[in-house]
């Protein structure tokens, strides 16, 4: 945007030059039989997904929710909504974790909500136990989901906010929780090492915080504790009063959930501002074709092929795409485009992956890494020629590591 005359570095080259890339011309007939059938099939699948998510959103069920509320506590999702900036997005992670994993036992969202949200203007990773699901105890999948969120926080240098309301490990399953390096203890290890890397760790104790759960606030840089509101005497409480005034484990005293979340927002507001170095132009050209048509193009039949450029044309600014190695390894489409002004390198499957396609992919990734251009993968792999894929995968993994390191 409006770069006035100045010495520019390579991150700030004028956007206008990317406008010379030609737009993809769509050849989709959105009234064709195929398109209409594809669309309705995809919609059915999406509706099914949404119905499943809607069920998951109801957390541990009516009875557990009622009990939770009767204690004057907010639900995990409500806590996140109150924590993030009003009107801001929340990118929830691993929504289907725990789905049909433990037989008859339902563990919606894996008993924990994780995601990326904006708190006091700062992009953070939020991890919130859901006490309506088996008291917020950790199943093996809960641990895995918690660790995945921390991994994302570390890779992207995002502060972590833990909304703790957990009874610790799910004891019947403790054999699958405590033994390994990727198990429960890794959570605290991550907190310690991230804190060491300068990634802020903030815990908000909003309910029970027993056994393993108790380490999370103890391992955080700052901790807030909310009084439970239960009718028990101060001596018995051993909670907010004790830990704020005597033990000193927690730093801020809150009278209830919303007060605690308010204090958490205040704490995040005190962090040094993040280095934001993404290019972003909110006024960038919209794609020439509507994104809604993607359903009609892709369809639900995994064996049917389509031209992935039709999808790219519906994602990128002005549908402009500068394709790389168009005539070589055609089952993988590679090329440059911009999304809201941010240059991206796109790798999109367009059929079975062959040796040439993976060579091309590796070459393109290398190019992007050299230029510090983020990669966007549009994945649609029905299969690949065994023995050849390693080459692509190996390269990809290798270069991705480099990209991550550079971004950090």
């Amino acid at each position: 945007p409006n770069c006035s005359i100045q010495v520019r570095n390579h991150h700030c080259s004028a956007d206008k030059y990317t406008l010379q890339w030609s737009p993809i011309k769509s050849s989709i007939d959105n009234s064709s039989e195929d398109f209409v059938a594809n669309q309705s099939e995809m919609e059915a699948i999406v509706n099914d997904l949404k119905a499943k998510i809607a069920k998951i959103e109801q957390a541990g069920g009516e009875k557990a929710v009622k009990l939770h509320r009767s204690r004057g506590k907010m639900l995990a999702r409500e806590r996140i909504d109150a924590l993030v900036d009003s009107g801001s997005p929340f990118l929830e992670l691993s929504q289907l974790a725990g789905y049909q994993m433990y037989g008859a036992e339902e563990v919606p969202s894996g008993g924990i909500l994780t995601g990326i949200g904006i708190v006091s203007g700062r992009v953070c990773v939020i991890v919130a136990n859901d006490a309506t699901v088996k008291g917020g105890t950790y199943y093996p999948i809960t641990v895995k989901k918690h660790l995945r969120a921390q991994e994302i926080a570390r890779e992207n240098n995002l502060p972590c906010i833990y909304l703790v309301d957990s009874g610790g490990a799910n004891l019947p399953r403790q054999a699958d929780i405590f033994a390994d390096s990727q198990h429960f203890g890794k959570i605290f290890y991550n907190q310690a090492t991230m804190s060491g890397q300068g990634i802020p760790q903030l815990a908000v104790v909003m309910g029970s915080c027993t056994a393993g759960g108790a380490y999370v606030p103890a391992m955080s840089d700052q901790a807030i504790i909310a009084a439970t509101g239960e009718e028990i005497s101060a001596e018995e409480l051993g909670g907010a009063d004790l830990h704020c005034s005597e033990s000193g484990v927690t730093d801020y005293y809150a009278v209830n959930d919303s007060h605690a979340l308010h204090l958490a927002r205040n704490c995040i507001a005190g962090l040094q501002p993040a280095d934001e170095h993404m290019t972003f132009n909110p006024n960038a050209d919209e794609p020439l074709y509507p994104a809604e048509e993607i359903y009609g193009i892709v369809g639900s039949n995994l064996k049917k092929t389509y031209d992935v450029r039709e999808v790219i044309a519906r994602i990128v600014d002005g549908s402009r795409f500068h394709e790389f190695k168009e005539r070589y390894g055609e089952t993988l489409v590679t090329g440059f485009a911009t999304i809201y002004g941010q240059r991206v390198g796109i790798l999109a499957n367009n059929g079975v992956l062959f040796s040439e396609s993976s060579m091309k992919g590796a070459h393109f990734i290398e190019l992007c890494c050299q230029r510090k251009i983020p990669l966007l993968f549009l994945q649609n792999i029905t299969g690949f020629m065994v023995g050849k894929f390693w080459r692509f995968l190996g390269k990809a993994q290798y270069w991705l590591t480099i990209v991550e390191n550079r971004v950090n």
Partner: protein, 664 residues
């Protein structure tokens, strides 16, 4: 009276000092400027940054906020007029406008006082004198008898003289005791007997006075004008019956439901009254009028009235221009037959006050945002960010509209008030709008007890219409739209993965949830009600202001919202302001439990402290007397307690919510 006989000189005014503040100062400046006359303003410390000071050609500081030391400081104002080279002083209304001594001092200093001769002010200022002058001039007055001959026969004879109905009142009475109305001679004896016996029982004395009883009186006043050449005209009447605490809120011209003959008679009487005192300049003759159209002289206001714009609207005149011309010695611009009566006009006085439950509590503080509709005449002295000061009248503006007839004018007033947006202080606008909506007001059946008589309907708790919850919730949601240049993610307002984003806002104490099923389809729910709404035309007007159109329940309407730092103003079907700080204020929780104290309900000045540390007080006992906005307030103990500490001092200003008395 000598002024009209001596040959008046034309004394051109090149510069006029306006010895007033706020909207009326600006009103005078505007006309003076139009006539090529320079204006000089005087201001107190409280008005240093006021709009009228900025708009003046010259401005001089005259003292501290207290009016007695600034706007009422005659020496200082005359000095300033001379120092600034002014030839005339316009007093506006209030302050020195009806001060005969000031008019004389102006004359002594060789300055033109834009107003009537000092003698006229004096005559009209004393009730008994003015009544006598009017009686002599054959202007009807409210007759009465208050004398020593207390015989039943004499009282009956006097009553016949006064004319029925009459009011019999115990001389030492009060609280409605010993009062009777005799509607005719036939019931006089009975009423007198019962009044006397009640008075005897209650006050140990049965002396009576007799007064003409005016039932269901209206406040009707006539705008008059006189010049130095012996000419007098009236500019029709105004009805100012709708009052609270004896202060006018809605004024209109002409008076509704009045026969034309009555109107002409009223005008004639007013002109007679003006002539009787040799009146010069703008004046108002006030009458009370009963439902049969009988009217009686009350008093004459020897100044320009606050509500003069409604007379201007129906006659097409500029009364300040007339004042200045007359002051220069010119003849009245129009003769009586040339003064038209066109259509109907309303004025609403917009006050900073809390009208809830009929308390009409004046408020003071910062008007964070001020916006008036462009299609009404707005006389105001404030702009966004100005203070309504505790030192002066809490009037914010006058909204004046004109229509071809009363119904059209009332509709215009309603529309103008609906679009008047004032933030920071509660105003009487919602209350005035309820008055306008009252069928009796619409029918023109106004009288001075209109508000108390219709109290129940005017203050009836009405259920907030669904539209207000909907528009307010949507405005909150749109106000939260993220506009960040930091990245794509930061701009994904409301985004949730695989779930329709929903937001809950507290509106009027209710949790209202807005779910975005798409950018245009919303599901809004509260109290178990669910509404499907469509949202269109979301437009950013700039300056954190936006508008949108909603459709729900078959109704389609547009709403404008302004996002101020700490509040959100929403004007659509409703007219509301909401606090928007993300998580409310938890400071009270953070400290110890709030201690017991009595606090100032509004900013003001402490008048008296009635208790001392250590005193035992009972709930409801008066602790502190404070004044604000010319009104006295008594701060009472909220509970039985012991006084620990007095935290205020007589004569000192206190802000709103200041702790005045600390309990143990």
């Amino acid at each position: 009276r000598s002024a009209s006989s001596s040959a008046p000189l034309i004394r051109p005014i090149q510069r006029v000092l306006v010895a007033n503040r706020g909207e009326i100062a600006i009103r005078v400046q505007n006309t003076a400027r139009k006539m090529g006359i320079e204006t000089v303003s005087v201001f107190s410390d409280a008005d240093r940054n006021a709009l009228f000071v900025k708009k003046a050609d010259k401005a001089y500081h005259i003292g501290p906020p207290l009016a007695a030391e600034s706007y009422l400081n005659i020496d200082k104002i005359i000095d300033t007029a001379l120092k600034s080279g002014s030839q005339a002083i316009h007093p506006g209304y209030g302050f020195l406008s009806e001060n005969a001594g000031f008019a004389e001092r102006c004359a002594q200093a060789g300055l033109v006082f834009v107003g009537p001769p000092a003698q006229a002010i004096r005559d009209m200022g004393a009730k008994n004198v003015s009544k006598q002058i009017m009686e002599d001039a054959k202007v009807p007055v409210v007759k009465g008898f208050h004398g020593e001959d207390q015989s039943d026969a004499n009282l009956k004879a006097k009553s016949a003289e006064i004319g029925y109905p009459v009011m019999l009142k115990a001389v030492y009475g009060g609280g409605g005791k010993g009062m009777r109305i005799a509607w005719s001679e036939s019931e006089f004896d009975e009423k007198l007997a019962s009044a006397r016996s009640e008075a005897k029982k209650s006050f140990g004395n049965d002396e009576m006075l007799v007064e003409k009883f005016v039932e269901r009186p209206r406040h009707v006043e006539v705008q008059v004008f006189g010049d130095h050449h012996g000419n007098y005209v009236h500019l029709w009447e105004r009805d100012c019956s709708v009052q609270r605490r004896h202060q006018k809120i809605i004024e209109e011209a002409p008076a509704p439901n009045m026969a034309h003959e009555t109107r002409l008679k009223l005008g004639e009487s007013a002109v007679k009254a003006a002539a009787a005192v040799g009146y010069v300049g703008a004046g108002t003759v006030e009458f009370i009028m009963d439902p049969r159209g009988e009217f009686y002289f009350m008093e004459m206001n020897t100044r320009l009235q606050v509500e003069h714009p409604v007379s201007e609207a129906i006659t097409g005149t500029d009364l300040v221009e007339w004042q200045l011309r007359v002051a220069q010695g010119e003849k009245l611009p129009l003769s009586q037959s040339q003064i038209p009566l066109n259509g109907h006009a309303f004025e609403c006085r917009v006050y900073a006050e809390d009208t809830r439950d009929g308390a009409f509590m004046p408020t003071a503080g910062k008007l964070t945002y001020v916006d008036f509709p462009e299609d009404a005449r707005i006389d105001t002295g404030v702009v966004s960010g100005d203070e309504v000061s505790i030192h002066y009248d809490p009037m914010i503006a006058k909204v004046v509209v004109w229509g071809a007839d009363r119904a059209a004018a009332a509709a215009k007033l309603e529309s103008a008030l609906a679009r008047t947006r004032l933030s920071g202080l509660p105003t009487n606008i919602p209350f005035v709008r309820r008055v306008l909506a009252h069928p009796e007001f619409a029918a023109g059946n106004v009288y001075t007890d209109f508000i108390p008589d219709h109290h129940d309907e005017l203050f009836e708790k009405v259920e907030t219409p669904a539209e207000i919850y909907l528009e307010s919730a949507v405005a909150h949601a749109l106000a939260a739209l993220q506009k960040s240049d930091n990245g794509v993610f930061q701009n994904l307002s409301f985004f949730r993965v695989n779930v329709a984003p929903k937001y809950t806002f507290k509106i009027d104490g209710k949790d209202v949830t807005v779910r975005f099923d798409s950018d245009h389809l919303l599901t809004i729910s509260y109290d178990g009600n669910t509404f499907e709404a469509t949202l269109d035309d979301v437009t950013n007007i700039g300056n954190d202001e936006f508008q949108f159109t909603l459709e729900a329940n078959g109704r389609r309407w547009s709403t404008v919202a302004k996002n101020l730092k700490e509040t959100l103003m929403v004007n659509g079907v409703g007219q509301n302001e909401y606090e928007t700080l993300h998580s409310g204020n938890f400071d009270a929780y953070a400290g110890a439990a709030a201690s017991h104290s009595a606090v100032a309900p509004m900013p003001g000045i402490i008048e008296k402290v009635l208790v001392q540390p250590g005193d035992q007080v009972t709930s409801g006992q008066a602790l502190v007397v404070m004044t604000a906005m010319k009104m006295e307030y008594i701060i009472r103990a909220p509970e039985d307690s012991t006084i620990e500490q007095i935290k205020c001092q007589p004569g000192k200003n206190v802000p709103k919510n200041a702790v005045l008395v600390q309990f143990a």
